[in-house]
């Protein structure tokens, strides 16, 4: 009987080139479709739990600090005051929207206006003997896009309203830290004057 030849083990080779090609295709796909998400945070602006709007005279005038947003000639001036003449007022010039947004770092222009506005609200709050109960953020609601001759105070850009909300939040944080009593915080409302002259108030 003829003897069987022992089989020689054959080396098997893989060609990895197609695998590398597919891998690079995947990599390029992921790099091209990837988009970085902008960091976002939120501020609460809850509405009151009672129904509808409140009349502007809902609370005694002595207990309300009014923060008026005066937007004229594309410059924002915050006017912090109390309607009773006895208490003082503070005016903060926040400049133009471009100044708020620009700078080497957007924080520069924003931080200055924010700090001044917080200091102004605290000043009026202290002049009222720390008895204020409510902070009204008041702005005009002109929506006609009319020229400055017809509507000298146009409605302010949204960025300045959020700055006012931000300052109000900081003031409330400071009050809670100083007094240790959350009930002492100011309730923030939005008061806006419509073109017809109606005044409406809404807010938490």
């Amino acid at each position: 009987m003829p003897r069987k030849k022992p089989r020689k083990a054959e080396a098997v080779e893989f060609d990895l080139t197609p695998m590398i090609d597919v891998t690079f295709q995947l990599l390029i796909f992921f790099i091209v479709v990837m988009k970085f998400k902008q960091i976002e945070q939120t501020q609460a602006a809850d509405l009151p739990t009672d129904s509808g709007f409140a009349m502007p005279t809902d609370a005694p005038q002595e207990a309300i600090i009014t923060l008026r947003l005066k937007w004229q000639n594309e410059i924002m001036v915050y006017d912090v005051c109390v309607d009773t003449a006895a208490s003082g007022r503070a005016q903060i010039n926040a400049g133009t929207l471009t100044q708020l947004m620009q700078g080497r770092d957007a924080r520069d222009g924003y931080k200055r206006s924010f700090d001044e506005l917080v200091a102004g609200i605290h000043k009026v709050y202290n002049l009222m003997g720390k008895q204020a109960k409510k902070l009204e953020i008041s702005y005009n609601e002109h929506n006609t896009g009319a020229t400055s001759l017809e509507a000298p105070e146009l409605t302010a850009p949204w960025g300045f309203v959020t700055l006012a909300m931000d300052a109000a939040t900081q003031v409330n944080m400071d009050i809670e830290e100083q007094t240790g009593d959350p009930e002492k915080k100011l309730s923030v409302v939005f008061k806006y004057t419509q073109p017809q002259g109606n005044v409406k108030v809404a807010g938490s």
Partner: protein
């Protein structure tokens, strides 16, 4: 003269194994960090705020945009565009541009009712527990914020959040 020796050209081979390893590392990184989302978020220049908190409201919040498709983004185009014709309120998956309380009240009321029916939750005062998230461009006339507030009151939506970006650190 002795004939010069011919130099034998030696072959150079590269080991590509480390490169393949790095490429696989990159692919695994991208696969793990990737999140597939539909584009419901419009590009707006968000306002800045110092005191905002990071709340996970996006998952179930109803997003409303104060938006202008032709507004140029970034500080270079930062001048306020107060022409109201360009600005409008945009709702998710809707092409219509809302500008008045009358136009906005009905769709918001419908959305709030759908949310209430789906979750079966209402507050003690009969208000919806739906969260409405306002993503407003900082250049938008704040008149449109008033429109959204009034429409929310009509739709009995009480919880409102405003989207901002934190200031960049120095």
């Amino acid at each position: 003269m002795a004939r010069g020796k011919r130099r034998k050209i030696s072959q150079v081979s590269m080991d590509l194994t480390p490169m393949i390893d790095v490429v696989f590392q990159l692919i695994i990184f991208f696969i793990l960090t990737m999140t597939i989302t539909t584009l419901t978020v419009k590009k707006v220049e968000l306002p800045i705020a110092e005191t905002a908190v990071e709340e996970d409201t996006e998952a179930d919040a109803y997003m409303v945009h104060l938006y202008n498709a032709s507004a140029v983004g970034g500080p270079q185009g930062g001048a306020a565009n107060l022409n109201p014709d360009g600005w409008h309120i945009a709702l998710p998956n809707q092409e219509m541009e809302y500008r008045t309380v009358q136009e906005l009240s009905d769709p918001l009321t419908q959305v709030a009712e759908d949310y209430n029916n789906r979750t079966g939750e209402l507050s003690e005062l009969g208000l919806s527990k739906m969260i409405l998230l306002i993503r407003g461009d900082m250049r938008c006339p704040s008149h449109y914020f008033s429109v959204v507030l009034q429409a929310c009151i009509a739709a009995k939506i009480q919880k409102i959040r405003v989207s901002i970006k934190p200031p960049r650190n120095n």
